[in-house]
């Protein structure tokens, strides 16, 4: 059988973002997949030498709009560690609130796009309708829907008052009910299962060896979540990583589905633990030294390496993002698949190209 090469992307209706895959097919079967990256590369790590360390917060938030709050959280934690300060307790709890709201909207967004990738458009619409409630929460509490910009070095810049806390809790009750009402469709519906179960299987060993991150790793049965490091306010919250063992697309979507319910729970716990207090401590001096910080993003572990030299500008910012880690496992599971399953499997890693390439 002769081989055919089918280009997939960079502009493709299922992927909102540009990535190019050259799919080598034999009949309908994929034998090789070669990714080409670089369409979203901006070189923003280099901006560290042009912007001072406070302005860099705005830059790192725009590594990826979907998990922007968590990027700046990671960055601010790093700078705080370098300067030897710690954010006040209230600020750390508020960081949990917004970062979990981000995870929630990111997972809903992904579940919707995933449903769309196998043609279940009404589920996509339902999930995005629920997601808009979270966007409203973001907008009302911080002033922006997507890039909330709440972190500053030493704490946060926005606060929640009593009525907002109550409103968030009330909204989350409704959101939780609507997510749960879709549970049987997402997890048990026969059409969904036909397109996701047993497809794109990544074994536990392969996931570990290839360095998969986040739901991709947990979907293959490895209980590793950076929130176990107890950064921000997670030290006081009850938290267990969500794990599934099947390793297929279904397992990855179930992990994300269960994590969205877990995020709601974490937001509630954090709101209950809010006590009056300062929002930020003053940062004195200039960052100096090297640090590595890690946080858990909706897509997995994100690592920041920061190097300061006692001036206003950082010498080096290095960001390792979860999707980048998930591309080798993706390239490993694509061969052998039917061509029609490629969009589903590509989406199952929750590709975020803008953070992969920065």
């Amino acid at each position: 059988m002769a081989r055919t090469v089918i280009p997939f992307g960079p502009q493709h209706p299922v992927l909102p973002e540009p990535i190019h895959l050259s799919l080598v097919l034999e009949d309908e079967r994929v034998v090789e997949a070669l990714p080409t990256l670089g369409y979203v590369h901006r070189g923003l790590e280099m901006l560290a030498v042009k912007r001072d360390y406070n302005q860099m917060i705005q830059i790192v938030e725009r590594v990826c709009g979907i998990c922007s709050m968590i990027h700046s959280l990671c960055y601010c934690q790093g700078i705080e560690e370098m300067m030897g300060i710690q954010a006040p307790r209230r600020a750390r709890m508020l960081r949990v609130v917004w970062s979990e709201l981000h995870r929630l909207h990111s997972h809903l967004l992904w579940l919707g796009l995933f449903a769309d990738s196998f043609g279940f458009e009404s589920l996509f619409m339902q999930l995005w309708k629920i997601r808009e409630r979270i966007m409203d929460l973001n907008e009302a509490t911080t002033g922006n829907r997507v890039i909330v910009s709440v972190n500053v070095v030493g704490g946060v810049r926005a606060d929640l008052d009593e009525s907002q806390v109550r409103w968030i809790k009330d909204t989350l009750v409704e959101v939780e009910a609507s997510i749960r009402s879709l549970q049987s469709t997402i997890m048990n519906d026969s059409t969904v299962c036909k397109r996701t179960k047993g497809i794109g299987v990544l074994t536990r060993q392969a996931a570990y060896d290839l360095g998969a991150a986040g739901p991709m790793l947990r979907g293959s049965g490895v209980a590793q979540d950076m929130r176990q490091l107890k950064y921000a306010g997670f030290d006081e919250l009850n938290f267990e990583p969500v794990v599934e063992t099947a390793g297929d697309c279904w397992a990855r979507s179930t992990v994300r589905f269960r994590e969205s319910l877990q995020s709601i729970d974490l937001v509630r716990q954090a709101l209950d633990k809010l006590e009056p207090g300062d929002l930020a401590v003053k940062a004195k001096g200039k960052p100096e030294g090297e640090v590595i910080t890690r946080v858990e993003q909706p897509r997995g572990e994100c690592l920041y390496y920061l190097k300061g030299n006692g001036t206003n500008n950082l010498e080096r910012v290095r960001i390792r993002t979860p999707t980048f880690a998930n591309i080798p496992p993706l390239a490993a599971i694509l061969p052998g698949l039917d061509f029609a399953d490629v969009p589903v499997v590509v989406l199952s890693i929750d590709p975020c190209i803008s953070c992969t390439e920065r």
Binding site: P10, Y39, V40, H41, L44, L47, R62, F124, R145
Partner: protein, 147 residues
């Protein structure tokens, strides 16, 4: 008669194609949000298509970099005229926060002509819808002039 029918439908039911050209995703998801129930641009007859040859309106989010400039130009050339280009977000307008980044050329208008600029970082769905409507007014003008 068929020609005038086509012209009317192009303004009344424009088909839109979205291209992410180095955006941070903020503007992308806001553009996608326009299609979903809360905003739902489909009620105005606006349909999102994946093929540039079917599209009347090109919605571009994000900055242009060395690599995707060619792709953007290609997509634009493949669209039948008259066509509209809408640049979304600070990035699409001028390069935004990434303006000085090493791999960034700048706004969308460095490569293709832009008809409507939408400010904001990210631009709100309401602003994006407003931009499409503004653009359609412009398209109508072009079509009437060509009669």
């Amino acid at each position: 008669m068929f020609g005038s029918f086509l012209k009317t439908s192009q303004v009344k039911s424009p088909w839109l194609m979205h291209f992410d050209c180095g955006s941070c995703n903020g503007c992308d998801i806001e553009t996608l949000a326009c299609l979903t129930p809360v905003y739902d641009v489909e009620r105005f007859g606006i349909i999102n298509v994946g093929n540039p040859r079917h599209a009347d309106v090109l919605v571009v989010t994000g900055t242009v970099n060395q690599r995707n400039a060619v792709i953007l130009k290609n997509l634009y050339d493949q669209m039948p005229s008259p066509k509209l280009v809408i640049a979304i977000g600070a990035c699409g307008c001028s390069g935004g926060v990434f303006r000085e980044a090493p791999n960034v050329l700048g706004g969308v208008d460095k490569v293709i002509p832009v008809d409507v600029y939408v400010p904001g970082c990210p631009a709100k769905p309401e602003a994006i819808m407003d931009a499409v409507v503004t653009g359609l007014g412009k398209l109508k003008g072009i079509l009437e002039a060509s009669k």
